[in-house]
Amino acid sequence: MAEVSSLHKPTANRAPRLRWDARPWLLCGPGAVFFLVMLGVPLVMTVVLSLYGFSYTEGLIETRTLASYREALVDPYFHEIFLRTYALGVGVTLICVVLGAPEAYVISKLRPPWRTICLLAALGPLLVSVIVRTLGWVLLLGNHGLVTEALRFVGLTDRSLMYTHTGMVIALVHVFVPFMVISVWAALKKVDPATEQAALSLGASKFTMLRRVVLPQVLPGILSGSLIVFALTASAFATPAIIGERRLKVAATAIYDEYLSTSNWPLGAALAMILLVLNALVIFAYNRLVERRYRKTLGEA
């Protein structure tokens, strides 16, 4: 997602055109109209929907009221849900950084056949349906799952990790950590390996070399990977729905339930809009911060 912003900048400078040119509009016009209609109209409709009233006896009431927003923003029940959602986002992101960034570096230093094999193994799960991967964790964390039995054997816990925060974090890290690996991997490919040798030749220890020469160069990759992982975790549905079920709701599962269980559409729509705005704010603020920090040193040279 951080890449999105870099595409906005002009890629080359050409002489300004004096005459209006119809060709680009002919090329992307149909697609643009489709996107405007398919994105704009539904989102506006959802905003309108979120302003409707609702009662369990009458269902939808076509008025204009902020009642759903008030409920979503005031009710401690939803506070807890949003707090859980963003706490999971931060926690999962941090764990993904700690695991994914070193893994990308280790893979980059493997010998040729192993490098490809390990890269495929680390990125491949990204292509496997989230539902299948989450099912794997249900089987591992369930009452007779391998992990549960192992934990029981060691005596750490006798409870299964299903329906716990720990279980959700483990499964979410599994689902999203490949994004961190790929992001850091892409950044590492731009690092001149001779800079590592240069640092060593100047007397740096291996740790100093990693901290002062490698880490700063891959930091943009870590930051953009973090943004992707955070945004995806905060809006994740399948994994929290299956591992956390209805006991540990997050924003996405709460919206789902408002729509398909309670049928309180206005409240569901309001929750969706709040999630959209919060995520957009985080992305926007993060991009601003990162760009300001890195335009000078590691801008697109």
């Binding site: 800079t195 240069a198 060593l200 030749s201 007397g203 020469v213 700063p216 040193t297 590691l298 040279a301």
Partner: protein, 365 residues
């Protein structure tokens, strides 16, 4: 005892031998070039001295200390990398300061040494810039300053000028050499560019297929190449096939086609190759030279004319300084002449390195 002593250095990767028995003694302050085509092992040799590649066998001794088991970050050797390897996230002065930070040199000494190093490479005004804001030549200078600021006992240059354009490369050649002489750091440079090796070094080591072929000073490397490979790789040359024959009077005659030339060499009655540098040949009026010829091609290079002439010995390259006189035309008949001393006899078989050139070289079977 020499300052840097490399003895029997070898590197094998499985069945592949990258470097075989590299033996060389280098004096303090000397500038030595490792010259050869890509894949000749010169870079692997440099990498072993730097400590990035562990030798399969052999010893590296500097000022009496055995280095082969010392890790790269404890050797204190200054290196200028082919890609310069400047840290892109640090400014010029931060780059140069890095090595001093590692040595915990702080305060005014640190500031002063960074400033001095940047002055030395005439980059004093660029301290606050980032590498990507510099031109290739400027990055090169910063890389040199970064390597020299730690006052290394040895400076390694890995194809340092290969990323610069031709004109800048020539300027940097003489500047690099001047700086090296001023600072007095013992230097080893790897290059595939023979003119670079000849113009900068005190001694040139020509390498091929992981082995040293010839170690000599630049003039000797050029004038007395040890075999056909060196004569062809270092400069351009005309290689002629001939025979040495002893005549009835006991003189050694060189038979080159129809030519019979008396030369000052021990008679060996053997086939020989003769190297004749193009700039030593002269085109003279018919009847005044050793060989009759016809001009078949010519090229103007500003300071000189490069001719191709057809002779009884095959096609020869002849370089003539441009003295302002009209040149020979294509198809013109001329004679080719050269002083006898310009001929350099080569063995037709590549022969092992003369131990006298590389001190202490063991037998190369």
């Amino acid at each position: 005892m020499s300052y840097l002593s490399l003895a029997g250095l070898s590197k094998r990767y499985g069945d592949f031998t990258a470097v075989e028995d590299f033996t060389l003694d280098i004096e303090q302050g000397e500038f030595v070039s490792l010259l050869g085509p890509s894949g000749c092992g010169k870079t692997t040799t440099l990498s072993m001295i730097a400590g990035f590649t562990t030798p399969t066998s052999g010893r590296i001794e500097m000022a009496g200390t055995e280095l082969s088991r010392v890790p790269a970050n404890k050797r204190g050797i200054g290196i200028v990398f082919q890609s310069y390897a400047l840290f892109p996230h640090m400014t010029v002065s931060e780059n140069v300061r890095f090595g001093l930070d590692m040595r915990r040199i702080k305060g005014t000494e640190c500031t002063q040494r960074v400033a001095d190093a940047l002055e030395l490479v005439r980059m004093g005004g660029f301290a606050k810039r980032y590498p990507r804001e510099l031109s290739g030549g400027q990055r090169q200078r910063v890389a040199l300053a970064r390597a020299l600021v730690i006052r290394p006992p040895l400076l390694l240059l890995d194809e340092p000028l290969s990323n610069l354009d031709a004109k800048l490369r020539e300027e940097m050649q003489s500047e690099l050499r001047q700086i090296q002489q001023r600072v007095g750091t013992t230097t080893i440079m790897v290059t595939h560019d023979q003119s670079e090796a000849l113009s900068m070094s005190d001694r040139v080591v020509v390498m091929r297929d992981g082995r040293m072929v010839q170690v000599a000073d630049p003039l000797q490397t050029y004038e007395s190449p040890i075999d056909a490979f060196v004569s062809g790789f270092v400069g351009k040359t005309n290689l002629l096939e001939g025979r040495l024959v002893a005549d009835q009077a006991g003189r050694t005659m060189l038979h080159l086609g129809e030519l019979r030339l008396e030369i000052d060499a021990a008679s060996r009655a053997a086939p020989v190759s003769v190297s004749l540098r193009p700039e030593k040949l002269r085109l003279v009026p018919i009847g005044q030279g050793r060989l009759s010829a016809r001009v078949v091609g010519r090229q103007f290079a500003g300071a000189a004319w490069h001719y191709r002439v057809e002779t009884g010995l095959g096609e020869l390259m002849v370089n003539a300084p441009n003295l302002g006189a009209p040149s020979h035309a294509n198809g013109e008949r001329v004679d080719v002449d050269w002083p006898l001393a310009a001929m350099h006899l080569l063995d037709t078989e590549p022969r092992p390195l003369d131990p006298a050139n590389a001190a202490g070289a063991p037998d190369h079977g």
